[in-house]
Subunit: 257 residues, 3 copies
């Protein structure tokens, strides 16, 4: 049973999500449609990429992921299908794909199949579903368009790694107001070399990385690697982002000594 | 596999949506249940009708749509099942059906099957699901109650079409604050007769209908026919409704010259 | 087809819900995953228990319910699987189970199966799904760990029943701002003994229990037993909680005379 996931900024109030699901089921009644999130802030492709990047590896290989954000095609931004590590991604190459993958994805195709409607504002319903159903029926990605090596590049803020310091950034604030950074456990371990460390942001300093929120008392600050391996700053049962005044793109440093 | 959709003002915080889904699955484990929206503003049947009208045609024929808004039965408002163009609709005849269809629907039945619970505040769980499962198992609509020709009439604001002007209204503001009107592409084309036109609302004037949001620069106003054929006024990556001060039921005119 | 439900405080904005669904589908593609609610206020296990308690009996026996709230394991709070009246529940024994069931559940097991990841902040994805899939494949609950009789006890506010009065509390405010109390129809009937009654809260008094909201005019106060048998105070098409100033844990009395 083919899995098709949806990530978008459509919200849940309007008819958009249901229109896409109905179109999928009309073309492929056996499809399993799963919402990644529809509450991406409008037009925020970095947030959409973060959410999908942390969700899709949990799905089985062969899953097809539709990206319904900033989908209008233009001279600059084409409709694109990507195959990467056994997953498929369909969306508009507005930079989101460069934010989604660490490395160049395995295959990139400029979508050339026609859409069925005369309207150009709802590509997810009118074109991406068609491509998804083709893939779900076993068509090769090459049959959907032209192979290419080009992707629009948007630069994800990457941590800067120096001899005695990692300079990272806040990537995402989650529903609990936990602060998720772009410093991964792998980066930290490679740079640390058994030295002592201080995690520094604003006027705060943390000298320990915990395993769980409850390693500290309720209301206290804790640093840990989250369930995807990213360094996270949180408060046990509190709202770290609001209370610490730390927001997306703010800097966070780890100094070694 | 039968498809049952849900449209309601129950929100997603409480147990109501899950209670209905559990009841469906208890009676028909193979049903595919799809949410249209549960974020209809409380008691707003016009909004519910708008959302479902724009979503349901995307579903396959044979789909069954439960309308879970203002469902309490009364002397004035009975429980009703409708068959129209191959789709089924189950809800309370509080005027919502007259807002849902342009023309009188194919078949209207006053629901007479009993409900299973002693409570009368959750008809969707206790009566509509039962009717839906009957239909999904292939029962004819006539077996669920009494055929009738009557529907409670609520008047949808319809555009007024004169020789040189179409007077329409704002029907819906979506999550992007796009402004969706009741002037359709068909109405526009029939009235235009190759003349020039001006779209007028408040102190604004638009003389062009675009194909996509990105036909104008970010922050600029654009008029286009949306993916369901309704005239829409939007701002490329902006919030048209808030910024233009245009809200539901406000007037919008198209003058021909 | 096994049904796995999810109840959590993860919200719908982030990747958490999708990560769990993807993990389920990776391990059991034929599973039917149903959201109970993900909009439980953060860390509010009483609210989570209320919502699940009102939803799960509608699901077929054999359903497996994952409780994704305050899931971190600790010396005080272990991971637990429960079988009760044919349903299965997987979560952390932080008191939520004592709030979920009136009586001691049929079987309680301390979960001992290993989790697959090195992270301890996302037990729902990394351990509860594994337990759920075992149960869905037909394993006995005893194979997942050690049988026990102990549960962490959190005291649910229970109504106090005296000769001439029932003293109850507000348990939950729903999306319509209806006020749901812990006084059930059974308790009321047993205590009433055909006497007259007054429902009293703040400076209000209601002397009648209605069958439906529309038994009173729009904007008027109505008392009724809700679709799960709990006494509810509502306003026909109005927001009772806000307008009457009645909130969770406030007292409500029924006096008999």
């Amino acid at each position: 049973m083919p899995i098709i996931t949806l990530t978008s900024d459509w919200g849940l109030k309007d008819h958009y999500v249901a229109a896409v699901k109905g179109t999928i089921l009309s073309n492929m009644p056996e499809a399993i449609v799963v919402d990644i999130s529809h509450d991406i802030p409008p037009f925020e492709i970095e947030q959409a990429a973060f959410v999908l990047r942390n969700a899709y590896p949990n799905f089985p290989k062969g899953s097809i992921h539709i990206l319904g954000i900033n989908t209008e095609e233009s001279d600059k931004f084409g409709h694109t299908v990507i195959e990467h590590e056994g997953h498929f991604f369909i969306g508009t190459d507005n930079g989101i794909f460069s934010l989604l993958f660490e490395l160049k994805p395995d295959k990139i195709v400029e979508l050339t199949i026609n859409q069925d409607s005369d309207y150009f504002t709802f590509s997810s319903r009118d074109r991406f579903v068609k491509a998804a159903v083709h893939l779900a029926r076993g068509k090769k990605i090459e049959e959907l368009g032209q192979l290419t090596n080009q992707l629009v590049e948007k630069s994800l803020l990457r941590p800067v790694i120096e001899e005695d310091v990692i300079k990272g950034h806040v990537m995402y604030i989650d529903v609990y107001e936990n602060i998720i950074t772009n410093i991964t456990e792998d980066i930290f371990k490679a740079a640390r070399k058994n030295r002592k460390f201080s995690i520094l942001f604003r006027s705060y300093e943390i000298r320990k990385i915990s395993r769980s929120y409850t390693d500290v008392a309720p209301g206290e600050i804790v640093a840990l690697f989250d369930s995807n391996g990213n360094l996270e700053v949180a408060m046990n049962q509190g709202n770290a982002s609001g209370l610490l005044g730390l927001d997306r793109k703010d800097m966070i440093r780890i100094e070694f000594s």
